[in-house]
Symmetry: C2
Subunit: 319 residues, 2 copies
């Protein structure tokens, strides 16, 4: 019988699991809450218990699986299968995830960071069309990414894919990383709100977004995009600035790597074609002519499943 | 007996050849003039004749070679071993280089573009320390580059490594590619002169560089750097601006790829540590903290030999 894969997407609030075929079809899917109490010491035992429970439920044996793959926040040591500094999990010290899981479940295990794993997912079964040259950009609370070249994840020395920290505006907004003008300071969900507040200060005309801000209401990147879609002038200015920086970053990624696809995902990408069209406009302005015609910008397609699918794909190497 | 490699570096004025050991030591080296007459139709026959002549001279047989590698300007089709659009060779139509050379010499042949091949050379035997993660930036008449990740050249769809066309100043100088503010418009040999002319116009104080320009003398990037080393105030301003853009581009390369080394070569890099120190200053300013401490900027070490050495390394795959 054909073997199966297990994918685990470890996040600060939930842990998602899936059982997949070797061709990437999800057969079972479940999730549990992440218990970050006691320095996150319950997380790995909870994962083990949950997998054991579900294998029993589905009447499956460890020998039926090629391997388990996992995406994790924090700094991941691929070789040793450890994680450190995942602050949203309360993992401050070194966590020997691979050792624990392989010992308890008897299935080979591989791990990578969450953005890389989502990139692998979109590449394998989503917008990346299983191409060997794919870059994934995720626009969420922060901006992250993963790069696949020659069919392999680019890790560099350790921190490749810091797309959110590409400098798009030297001397621009101060970033949490200490630098100024990182893409993340403009194009993350929080960055978009920051741009909105800034532009609102100088904005004089009528605009619903301006009124919301002046009234002291909480706004979100979703509200900005929704108002822009209704042709709110200030919201359109915000979206234009954000998409300008995103298009510039995508163009520079394209000029360096000329991937087949730059896939845009994460919560902010819910703005859909409205966002994509505007990013494309600036990408086409800034990209090298050959890149303009060979690198395509696309929206991510897998949503929340990108993580478990990409994680599972790590385990394909065991097959 | 251990086999040998042949490396060919095809340029617009000379064609360089070398015979190397499998560990990259140059054993013989020679060059011929590039005859670009008659649509460059003499080039491939000249290469074949020259290799035949030298094999005879050194009393060597084709069977003693693992393969021949070549770096070429223009658009290279790796699979078919053809070149098109190499205008400094007068190659406007498709040139079946591989077919001709393999047929006449009976040695397996591989080809890639000249910047990629120089990157391979510096990676193998130069500043790249044979690391798997190396980016090479060449500052010459234009600005080019090559990217090695996971030990392999990154080609993307076809035009990866267009480092000279990364946008460092949206709405900056017009580039030959049609875009504005490409790195090449500031940091190539011609770009540096352009910056000098521009800054000279607004510059009021005393400066030898200003006087040279006002006198209508021809200046070069070498003159700018030489004067800057003598503390000429205008030349220092030019160098500072150029290195600022170079440092920004290197930081964004680092943030994306986090290579072990970014190696700076090409004619302009003859300015040496004086250039490197200033580029590093801006790299450290703009790079993500992890990248700052793990990606190192270095000067190229192989000079003109990078091309033949890197070309030869292509043929290692035949071994």
């Amino acid at each position: 019988m054909e073997k199966k894969l297990i994918g685990i997407d470890l996040g600060g609030t939930t842990i998602k699991f899936a059982i997949l075929t070797l061709t990437g079809e999800i057969q079972q899917k479940w999730s549990i809450q992440t218990n970050i109490l006691d320095d996150g010491s319950h997380i790995v035992p909870d994962i083990i218990t949950s997998i054991k429970h579900h294998l029993k439920l589905y009447q499956m044996q460890p020998s039926q699986f090629s391997g388990i793959g996992m995406g994790s926040p924090g700094t991941v040591d691929l070789k040793n299968g450890t994680v450190i500094g995942a602050y949203n999990l309360n993992w401050k010290t070194l966590q020997p995830v691979k050792t624990a899981i392989e010992k308890e479940l008897g299935i080979p295990f591989l791990i990578d960071n969450d953005a890389n794993v989502a990139a692998l997912g979109e590449r394998w079964k989503g917008a990346g069309e299983n191409d060997n040259e794919v870059v994934f950009v995720t626009l969420g609370t922060g901006v992250g990414g993963g790069i696949i070249s020659n069919g392999k994840l680019v890790h560099g020395v350790q921190a490749a894919g810091e797309i959110g920290h590409m400098i798009v505006e030297p001397n621009g907004y101060l970033c949490t990383c200490g630098n100024h003008g990182c893409l993340e300071t403009y194009a993350s969900a929080t960055g978009i709100v920051r741009v909105a507040r800034d532009l609102a200060e100088e904005y004089a005309g009528p605009a619903k977004l301006k009124k919301l801000l002046d009234d002291g209401q909480d706004i979100s990147s979703k509200i900005v995009f929704d108002l822009a879609k209704e042709a709110d002038q200030l919201a359109l200015m915000v979206v234009d600035q954000v998409c300008g920086y995103l298009g510039l970053a995508c163009a520079n990624i394209g000029n360096l790597l000329n991937p087949s696809f730059i896939v845009i995902g994460g919560g902010v990408s819910a703005a859909g074609e409205f966002l994509l069209d505007r990013v494309k406009k600036y990408f086409l302005k800034y990209a090298f002519p050959t890149v303009r015609t060979t690198t395509e910008l696309k929206l991510a397609q897998l949503g929340n499943d990108a993580g478990v699918i990409g994680a599972a794909s790590l385990a394909l190497t065991f097959n």
